[in-house]
């Protein structure tokens, strides 16, 4: 590991301080014209801190990490209204649904998933956001969320689950992404994003950029992956929110264990998230400390009646395959 020398630490501190000061004065009111010459963006701030870290003797990996953290903090401060978030989320949602699979036609199933989602969302930091939880018909094991409260889960993911606490844990993970504005923070790294969302021009008058945003969101959610640190954060919050709602907090952990066994050749959560073992390592630590002793409800029977039984004959083979794998999985009991 590279160590700071004192002068190097001072250089880094100067860079970081300068970056923060510049950032605090500009990122909160970005109104650049998008031409690239008029404003100091979150990305610029991150680059400055990364450069400072390298000058201070940190290796590239550490420097990138500092950049991510800085961009996260600064990005959270820039102004995107809830209405803009919802408008942006709609575009991302449309493109993602078109890419993943159709909305499941069973309204009772959709209502059930919404009730579980709303139960955990109440415990989050944005309980009044109008969340829409949607089941998509796709054998791929996946769940993802677009800004503004659009949360999606595939029938492939539901087929892996055995009880409501697992569903609650996964939905709570997605709720955390939405409430912490993780995707919005990543969007802010694009120089043109600030201009798009902070000018008074309506998004529908900038359809080309709006569509680009949809493509970018689609890329991040379904292919490229959200930042590793955001994923860890969403895992921790997912377990915590589920526990606060009265669910067994190990639901997300049990789902991740099964996920690791079935998605070696799939996209979805394995390709878009950090590796399952590294996520489980962190999650296990939280379950063994902060959430130790939280019993909670699994609601297995309600899940079977309201969800598993409603997935339909088209998912029967998938369900059987999943439960075979589940049987072989080292499911932890809490």
């Amino acid at each position: 590991m590279t160590k700071f020398s004192t002068p190097a630490a001072l250089r880094f501190a100067l860079f970081a301080g300068l970056a923060i000061l510049i950032g605090s004065g500009t990122t909160g009111c970005e109104t650049t014209d998008g031409s690239g010459g008029g404003g100091f963006t979150v990305k610029d701030l991150g680059t400055l801190v990364e450069t400072g870290a390298i000058i201070a003797g940190k290796d590239q990996e550490d420097a990138s990490r500092y950049r991510n953290v800085t961009e996260s903090i600064a990005g959270a401060a820039a102004d995107v209204s809830p209405e803009k978030e919802w408008e942006i989320g709609g575009g991302v949602a449309l493109k993602s649904v078109a890419a993943v699979g159709p909305v499941h036609p069973d309204d009772q199933l959709q209502r059930y998933v919404n009730l579980v989602g709303r139960t955990v969302a109440r415990q989050g930091s944005r309980p009044h956001l109008p969340y829409t939880f949607t089941v998509l018909e796709s054998p791929e094991v996946n769940a993802f969320a677009a800004p503004g409260g659009y949360v999606f889960i595939t029938t492939g993911a539901l087929a892996l689950m055995e009880d409501e606490s697992e569903l609650a844990g996964v939905l709570a993970h997605e709720v955390a992404h939405v409430s912490e504005r993780h995707l919005i923070i990543m969007f802010k790294r694009q120089r043109w994003f600030s201009a798009l969302v902070t000018t008074s021009t309506a998004l529908e008058d900038n359809l080309q950029e709006y569509s680009q945003l949809g493509d970018l969101g689609n890329q991040v959610l379904l292919k490229g992956g959200i930042d590793r640190d955001f994923e860890y954060d969403a895992d921790m919050q997912g377990a915590e929110l589920a526990a606060m709602a009265g669910y067994d907090p190990s639901g997300l952990q049990r789902f991740l264990i099964k996920l690791g066994q079935v998605t070696q050749n799939q996209g979805g959560w394995l390709s878009t998230h950090p590796s399952t073992p590294s996520r489980l390592e962190r999650l296990n630590a939280v379950l063994a400390t902060d959430l130790a002793g939280e019993g909670g409800v699994r609601a297995q029977e309600r899940f079977r009646q309201q969800c598993a039984a409603r997935l339909g004959s088209g998912n029967a083979a998938l369900l059987n395959d999943a439960h075979t794998l589940v049987g072989a999985a080292p499911v932890a009991e809490y």
Partner: protein, 167 residues
């Protein structure tokens, strides 16, 4: 060692302006979301005592793992989620060295968005048309927004109670 301490100190200073101080029993906290539920018992689905507007100051009587027992200035007492209160008044009045970097909680505005009944935004609708996204996809998302908006809090309350989610 000195350099490590210096680096950690700098990190701490940078984060100091951003981190929320801990809420403590005997102190005052402020509601940071709109219409936060104050409940009779230390559980999620128990009877609601009051809905507290954003910025409401409360006296913290007792802290639990996820909730706090609080009392309002008018004397109403109940349990509230720790995620819904903070030690300082909401950010619009927070300021400080790093005040420009601290975001304002916008939960109050989110009710307005929820109440609109939504559907898809004009931009999303126009993009779908421009890019020939399957109309069935657009319609199904519209349908889901209406379905979700039709689920009232009372139904969520009943769902929680039926599931035995209150330990």
């Amino acid at each position: 060692m000195k350099s490590r301490i210096l680096a950690l100190t700098m990190g701490g200073l940078l984060l100091a302006g951003l981190a929320a101080a801990a809420i403590s029993a005997g102190g005052t906290a402020y509601v940071k979301v709109s219409d936060a539920d104050l409940r009779e018992g230390n559980s999620l689905g128990g009877p609601k005592v009051a809905e507290l507007p954003i910025g409401t100051p409360v006296s913290v009587i007792q802290l639990d793992r996820f909730r706090a027992l609080v009392r309002t200035q008018s004397g109403t007492q109940g349990w509230i989620s720790l995620r819904h209160i903070q030690e300082k008044p909401p950010a619009s009045s927070s300021g400080g060295v790093f005040g420009g970097l601290i975001r304002e909680d916008r939960s109050a505005n989110e009710l307005g968005t929820a109440a609109s009944g939504r559907g898809l935004s004009e931009a999303a609708e126009q993009m779908a048309e421009l890019e020939d996204i399957d109309p069935a996809v657009v319609e199904s998302l519209r349908h889901m927004e209406v379905l979700a908006a039709g689920i009232k809090d009372a139904e969520v309350d009943a769902f929680i109670k039926a599931g035995g989610l209150n330990p």
